[in-house]
Amino acid sequence: MKQFTTISQSLFDERAREAEKKTPIRREFGLRDIEVINSETLTLDGKHVGMSNEAFKNFCKIVGLPVGFDKTFSSAFGDKARQQLVNRLKVAAQAKGNSSVSIVLNPETKKIIAVQKDPRDLVSNQSFLESTTRMINRFDLEVSDFSVSDDGSVVINTASPKNAWGIQGLKDEDHFGGISFSNSPNNGFQVSPFLYRLVCANGMIGKSFSETMQLGQMDQMNLLKFNENLEALAKRGFIPEKFEERVRLAMNTRASLAEMEHAHGRIISVSDADVKEIESWIPYQQTKASFFKSGVDVNTLTTNQMKGAKTGMTIWEMINSITHFATHDNGFKMKSFNRRTLQTESSRILCDNFDMANLIASPF
């Protein structure tokens, strides 16, 4: 059995300082002081400031422009017309009483990374760390990972090694739970179950489980509800309600070729590993070759056909491959934030509908 590793207090403190330094900063502006130039720039009191695509989407949403529509509009009428539309909608929003927005800035790049209705929609990293530290102490959790990304997003994975639990009747399925805390300009303060599989020391961030909570706007009621839900999760030993059921189903369901291709692609997109190297985790090329051998040209298959093509790997094996790749240092270059992305992706796969789960046995 592999050893559960935790980070040292000095590393935690170092990361905490980094998180505080990178924490995005907020300022309220009246809508009348904002003018959109294009999807990458706006003016604040006449000063040009760059913005991310996400921030532009936020702004469009606030003024009432449906996400995606701006692109359609832009391709039909051009950027200038789109700019005019967004600014007109801004004036209309002002007339409806939405007089101000909160502009979120990355202090290092001086670029706008989010636009929100209220400054309290974002939780500072300082408050996030204070709350998280308090919860870590209260629930006696061990910190296994702490990462800070360039835009000031923070993820802290914790586990409670004292509360190990197993899935009845299944060998090697001993786990202990914990909490994954995250804070980002666009998703806010979130907590999700964190699952640690003892046999391979793989970690999974259970964002797709219903126990995941988002703080939303920072006010007294939300904070209390957030804490109460967290306590309820702790009382259950941090085990997501549907976990066991999903694991059993994942163990008994083969991955489709489409699912395998997706998992393969996700690993490649976040690491410098090449196609062949990933075969040890997700044998995608090998599986494709097997299909070729049996006379199926997988390159000509439609998406739905890919979803109906059964592979030799179960969903659970595939999930464990992803979490293993994400959790351990296998000699590939991968940003720690991307590791968290893969750990999150694995829980999404576990909670999602499996392509092969609904196959109906034919009576013919």
Binding site: R26, R27, E28, K110, M218, Q220, L224
Partner: protein, 329 residues
């Protein structure tokens, strides 16, 4: 129709009217006599509060023993509501109001019992419940069985002021009155006092014992349950409000239906901090200190966040507009 011209002669008074006036004069004379008698018999310290010459006080000239400022601990989380130091402060008067059925008597008797267990001398003045009522109560809440209780209802024919003065004379650390309005009503009824007069008597008596004017020299703290109007508003004059150190309210949470305590006024401790509690079957008040801490943490986090939002705005301006201004200058 023509009116009769006034003749200047009075209509003779009926015998009933004469008798009513005579009765009113007689009662007024009795009341005056009783009030005079009360003022003569009154406890010298209470009297000194009434007829005291004006005295300007400099606090630097005042001397009180350090022990007076050491609060009395119940050992329960409710200590942190009563005072900043934790515990029921000495020589104070607390009024307790609350929704019907919320547990005013139980919670206050629980506090009193805990203080008694901690070694403090306590007295419970029960004007609402009889021995039999409380007997049943104690069966459920055994710890209340050790309290010294004065049932004022058993002294209906006596002078209530003498009853109270004599009961308090030995000196107590904490006295619980259930309820202030009932005791006040007894005084009004027997001594024919006005509401203000009876309230004044009680307040003066409490203030006197706050100052340690009793046989043991104990600076008594009073916790008095007070009745509320149908709208849930405190019943009492401004004098009562002014002489109250803290106003403790017991309410039901509208969302969850659970009970909580909150000080809406407290000169010695925090206000508007809710402490949720439940009444156990075995006879104890269980305080939800975890929820209390959560609320405290949430409040702190919000305060931190508000401060940060303000400071971030100036950093934002410096980063975005500051450089331009520097270049221009």
């Amino acid at each position: 129709m023509a009116f009769k011209q006034p003749t200047g002669q009075r209509t003779p008074m009926s015998p009933e009217a004469k008798s009513r006036i005579a009765e009113a004069v007689r009662l007024a004379a009795i009341r005056k006599k009783q009030e005079q008698s009360f003022r003569q018999d009154i406890h010298p310290v209470v009297d000194s509060f009434i007829d005291k010459p004006i005295e300007l006080v400099r606090m630097k000239d005042q001397k009180f023993p350090d022990d007076l400022f050491v609060p009395m601990k119940t050992g329960k989380p409710v200590d942190f509501l009563f005072s900043n130091e934790g515990g029921v402060p000495k020589a104070c008067n607390f009024m307790l109001i609350g929704d019907p059925g919320v547990g005013k008597s139980t919670v206050s008797m629980d506090i009193l019992s805990d203080l008694a267990e901690s070694g403090y001398k306590v007295l419970f003045i029960s004007a609402e419940m009889t021995r039999i009522d409380l007997y049943g109560y104690v069966k459920r809440y055994e710890k209340f069985g050790n309290l010294d209780i004065l049932f004022t209802g058993e002294y209906c024919d006596s002078n209530p002021k003498s009853v109270l003065e004599n009961a308090l004379k030995p000196g107590f650390d904490v006295v619980l009155i259930d309820s202030f309005a009932e005791v006040q009503e007894d005084i009004k009824e027997v001594l024919k006092y006005s509401s203000t007069g009876s309230e004044k008597f009680l307040i003066d008596l409490m203030l006197s014992h706050n100052m340690g004017n009793n046989d043991s020299g104990l600076n008594t703290t009073f916790i008095a349950i007070q009745q509320v109007t149908k709208g849930g508003v405190f019943v009492g004059t401004n004098k009562l409000k002014h002489n109250t150190t803290g106003m403790l309210e017991l309410r039901f949470d509208q969302d969850t239906g659970t009970q909580f305590l909150v000080f809406t006024k407290n000169r010695r401790g925090p206000v508007l901090k809710r402490m949720f509690y439940s009444l156990s079957e075995t006879g104890d008040v269980r305080y939800d200190d975890r929820r209390f801490n959560n609320e405290e943490n949430a409040r702190e986090a919000l305060q931190t966040e508000r401060t940060l939002i303000e400071s971030e705005a100036s950093v934002f301006d410096r980063l975005i507009f500051g450089e331009e201004e520097t270049q221009e200058s």
